[in-house]
Symmetry: C2
Subunit: 665 residues, 2 copies
């Protein structure tokens, strides 16, 4: 890109930067080598012809969007297959934390998404070795396209409620899959509608009239030759959604559809030919996968938020508005403190989520190593942790992405800004992989349990150890560490007080379940408090660890962001601070002053901080956020791509408008 084409305000912003953006990019990528790999991949994939759209997707019909997504999907996955390197799974996972290439190709994701994100992992996790040998090869080569069907029209979060039945018939050695009611139709799986020909189906197993829980089955749903749905299988797409419209989410119902016995995935539970059922080992093992997915969600929130704030900060640097001082030019809107207040916290939050995701991944990694050795001890704590961090990161990221959009004024409402779609993708994570309120209540269950154990004299470990600490703050010093400590005290106090309330409710005659329900708003608040304490302290401590190896200018900037984050949250939760710490009105005013000062200190580096997220224009996909800052030109260029603009007069003028205006309709 020729430098002279870059908006002059952005050029000036970049000249002001007082740290090395490349150093920050490397830090965010988890190391230089991953930055290199990511850029290489981006360069290779995004230069493939036909992967990037000429006509923006939003102008297509729902059907055309799907067809276009299939065209691009085969090209995209073909390209990826050719690029396959021999990294270890772990290494590849790490290296992909900031791989957003797919989002350049699919604004709204690919119909193959579930094949890689759920179908293959399920084969790896749930198959016997023999099954794995067969299915994994076919799936990895994409000889078959699969998906994963668990959720039903009437059943989501509560897995035990699933109604789809798999009844074993020892005579034929088959399972009979059946959907007993409309509410038992599978609903939501990506790719299920018209793309996948195989599907892992979660169904309730019945043998000789007895239920044996929910088990996974490999089901062929379409003919490999003709792609026609097999007999006894009803499927289709579920219709348009707020986002993910190219994912081809489908429904699936069974009418006594028969599959051979070996199609049950039998790594855990088994059914022998004669119908003897052997239960699986510890069900907590499945926690592992859930935790992994939630780590990925926290990381995904960091990426989506980084995209949104990149767009909003760059646009705020080139947009000028109002004239507070007579005879001076309109200021860049990034100079308004209210704008800085909306945006800078999003930069800090992206860092916080990113670093928390890395930290959580390391824990996940070490716990799964323990698991392999049969040690389940740390799994519940890790599970509770993921049950807090997934909701908090999705709640914060969605709110902040939306704030980024609103900070771009009217133009943020244009789809070509790519903020609305980013929100659509982020907000889905509020619900999928465990609805946020349900997860917070699960975390609360663990916290209440841990608290009771502690009260009984048992030791608390890992991320819950702090609950055994001093439940008071002796004095308010306003330091970052002091505030983080205060957040821990808030969590302790909220947990201990809700335990007391639960006891009172039960004493007053409520059943434990009713007491739990009645206290549930406070229970979610307790989980949030725990999650906030973790997010804050991990962000701080992990950044401190990395800081030593950083150049001094970068270290300074990053610690300013930590300071901003901590101060912001102390002010957001000032009610909790006032309730549980000795903070005074004067201290609050001081915090507000410090917060404003931090905004001013960060201001000169704002554009470079988002530049360091290192998103290529194809990945940002945004008229407002492109590197060159030619927002108005790009808005007009994109508008001209609207098919409505291909002709000066639409035919409806002659057919409807003119007769109407002449009173002749």
């Amino acid at each position: 890109m020729a430098a002279n084409k870059v908006n002059i305000d952005l050029q000036k912003e970049r000249a002001k930067c007082n740290f090395n953006t490349e150093e920050l990019t490397n830090l965010l990528d988890w190391g230089v080598k991953y930055t290199e790999r990511r850029r290489n991949l981006e360069q290779k994939v995004l230069s493939v012809k036909g992967l990037l759209d000429d006509t923006p997707e939003e102008y297509l019909s729902h059907k055309e969007k799907y067809e276009n997504a299939i065209r691009k999907s085969v090209l995209f996955y073909k390209t990826l297959q050719l690029l396959d390197d021999d990294m270890s799974v772990d290494e590849r996972t790490r290296s992909n934390f900031r791989n957003l290439i797919a989002s350049a190709v699919f604004k709204d994701n690919s119909p193959f998404m579930l094949h890689t994100s759920m179908f293959i992992p399920t084969i790896m996790g749930q198959c016997t070795d023999e099954q794995k040998a067969y299915w994994l090869k076919r799936a990895k080569n994409m000889e078959i396209i699969g998906t994963y069907a668990q959720t039903e029209l009437g059943h989501g979060t509560f897995i035990r409620g699933l109604e789809t039945r798999a009844t074993y018939n020892p005579d034929t050695e088959e399972f009979v899959l059946h959907s007993p009611a409309l509410s038992s139709y599978k609903w939501w799986p990506g790719g299920l509608a018209h793309t996948a020909n195989y599907c892992v189906v979660m169904a309730r197993l019945y043998i000789k009239g007895k239920s044996h829980g929910i088990q996974p089955f490999m089901v062929q749903i379409r003919d490999e030759e003709t792609h026609m749905p097999l007999p006894g299988i009803k499927l289709g797409e579920i219709g348009a959604k707020l986002g993910f419209n190219t994912v081809n989410n489908g429904f699936l119902g069974f009418e006594n559809h028969r599959i051979p016995r070996d199609r049950m995935l039998m790594k855990n539970a088994q059914v022998s030919k004669d119908g003897t059922f052997v239960a699986g080992s510890n069900s907590k093992l499945t926690y592992g996968t859930m935790v992994f997915v939630r780590v990925m969600i926290v990381n995904n929130m960091a990426n989506l938020l980084a995209k949104a704030v990149t767009i909003a900060v760059r646009y705020s640097a080139i947009r000028r508005q109002s004239q507070p001082k007579p005879n001076e030019p309109e200021p860049q809107i990034l100079d308004y403190v209210t704008q800085q207040h909306k945006l800078f916290i999003a930069i800090a939050s992206s860092h916080a989520f990113s670093i928390n995701a890395m930290w959580l991944w390391e824990i996940y990694h070490s716990v799964t190593t323990q698991l392999a050795g049969g040690n389940l001890e740390n799994l519940p704590e890790l599970h509770a942790l993921a049950c807090c961090l997934k909701p908090l990161s999705t709640i914060d990221a969605t709110a902040m992405i939306e704030k980024c959009r609103l900070a771009c004024g009217g133009h943020g409402y244009m789809l070509s800004a790519n903020l609305a779609q980013t929100y659509g993708l982020a907000t889905a994570a509020y619900t999928y992989e465990g609805e946020n309120t349900v997860l917070l209540l699960q975390a609360a269950r663990s916290l209440v349990k841990a608290w009771s154990a502690y009260v009984k004299g048992q030791a608390l470990k890992g991320t819950m150890a702090y609950l055994a600490g001093d439940p008071t703050v002796k004095s308010w010093d306003g330091s970052v560490d002091g505030i983080i400590q205060s957040f821990k005290v808030v969590a302790i106090r909220k947990i201990s007080s809700v335990v007391k309330i639960l006891e009172e409710y039960e004493k007053s005659g409520l059943s434990p379940e009713d007491a739990w329900n009645k206290a549930s708003v406070l229970l979610t608040a307790a989980s949030e408090a725990h999650g906030r304490a973790i997010l804050l302290s991990v962000y701080k401590s992990e950044m401190d660890k990395r800081a030593a190896a950083l150049s001094s200018p970068l270290r300074t900037v990053l610690l300013q962001l930590v300071d901003l984050y901590v101060t912001y949250w102390a002010l957001e939760k000032v009610g909790d601070m006032l309730l549980y710490t000795p903070i005074t009105e004067r201290d609050v005013v001081e915090l507000q002053r410090r917060y404003t000062d931090l905004l001013a200190v960060i201001r000169p580096n704002a554009v470079s901080l988002v530049d360091a997220f290192d998103f290529r224009d194809e990945i940002l996909n945004s008229t407002l956020g492109a590197y060159d800052g030619r927002a108005y030109e790009r808005l007009m260029e994109e508008a001209m791509k609207s098919p409505l603009n291909a002709e000066p007069v639409n035919h409806t003028f002659h057919k409807y408008l003119k007769p109407f205006m002449r009173g002749k309709l």
Copy 2:
């Protein structure tokens, strides 16, 4: 609708209701006669053939959506013309506060929207009598379709920054309209792209090289016969947006386009043939229209929120999930206190906005009567009020609509639920008609001014009079009135403290403008505090006024909602309560307990409370929210309308998928 077709859970909910829903509907409609008129209109319009779509709009391409909207628009407006009655303007305005018929026809609004909402009102407000006689007749008969073009690509909120020029040439007695830069292109006006043939254009007037401010001009943009854009006029559509996609928002640029002198709307300022400029009278007069539009926004937020919560409450009554107690059926999710916490505040908030809008409209009405008599005294206060209530109502309504969507889990993400679109329409109001942060800062300007006047010994009037009250709360009694008084004290304290901070900043050497900017986060907080105090106290006092005339059961329910609203906000703003009132931790616990008790008390009436909003299914447009509660059946019925489901195998299988899976791509 046959009663036996209604979901059994909803039937039971309705049987539990202990107030008269019709009585509440009448109250919300502002009287029985308006309920009747509304229902009559709904019945007449919605029975017109062709107005309601067979294929859901979300399956069409962008272009098809527009063409379909034009087809429906001429039918819809034709129907309205035939139904025209001879109500007074005031009466009609009141009677239309809950008229949402258009939303049954256009999920995303009509391309004629700006014709009625901006073009006609501008003709009425800005034309001389002679001009009005000509243009109003043509516009009302819809012989011409108009729109209103103010915002430019580079200029929105800051009207003085508009760049479009209208240069008067006394020789030809013409204005020459010109767009000097891309950033001066008009951008956003609804209907401008391919629908309107006339447009009121706001442009900077130049006469003999001198600027005379921003003035309105009537500009023909398309030929009445051929609909071709006139010479010197460049227009088109701006592209896809988060919402309003059928509104046909357009752009407009001028290349030395000439219009006759009489096309300037000269009610206020005038230009005579020789180029003599006569300035308009008090510019505050235009505040009137702005206030009116903002009243309508507050009311619109009440309606949109009512729609969302109707959908979410009904769905929560039929959705069942989890099994907290063994061997008992899955509970309705409406029985979960966390769900009640998400939803009931939305019912109360809709009432609060509705009643505040009515109250504000009455004030607006009396102030405009004063204006007609030359009395401008109360205009600034009213303007400040609208500058608070528009932002707060849009902020709360959007957040709560989104909460309603999320409370419906995955299915809330389906467009057929109509929650995402409702959000899209609501969130636009965050930005249009005065961006929220900008408005809050305008309100802050008035508040700071009022405070300074008060400090100097001047009396404060109307809704600002309370600022002169006692700035302390002597004791916390937890009563509704006590909490409302506390909110007033919070506002007083925030305003007085930010004034002090402004003074300090200026003393430290900052210019007044820089001091203002530096304090702006606190200034918006002060405006919010003022707005909250008004919203709460008006909701309470206006409901009290109406309560006397209500039956006892309804009165009880409505005052429970007032109590809920006040308690909710005291807890939301507990930090402010702790800072500025003598509330203790014990009081906070007591408030939380009362809040939970209120949720339980409201629970049995929840479905009937939303039934009383009295939305026809066509207006709700929602698979999840229909009166009969057949959510799963409707989800499936809607899904089957997807054109992708018209064929079992999409042609892309043969073209792309199969070759790919066979490795032959």
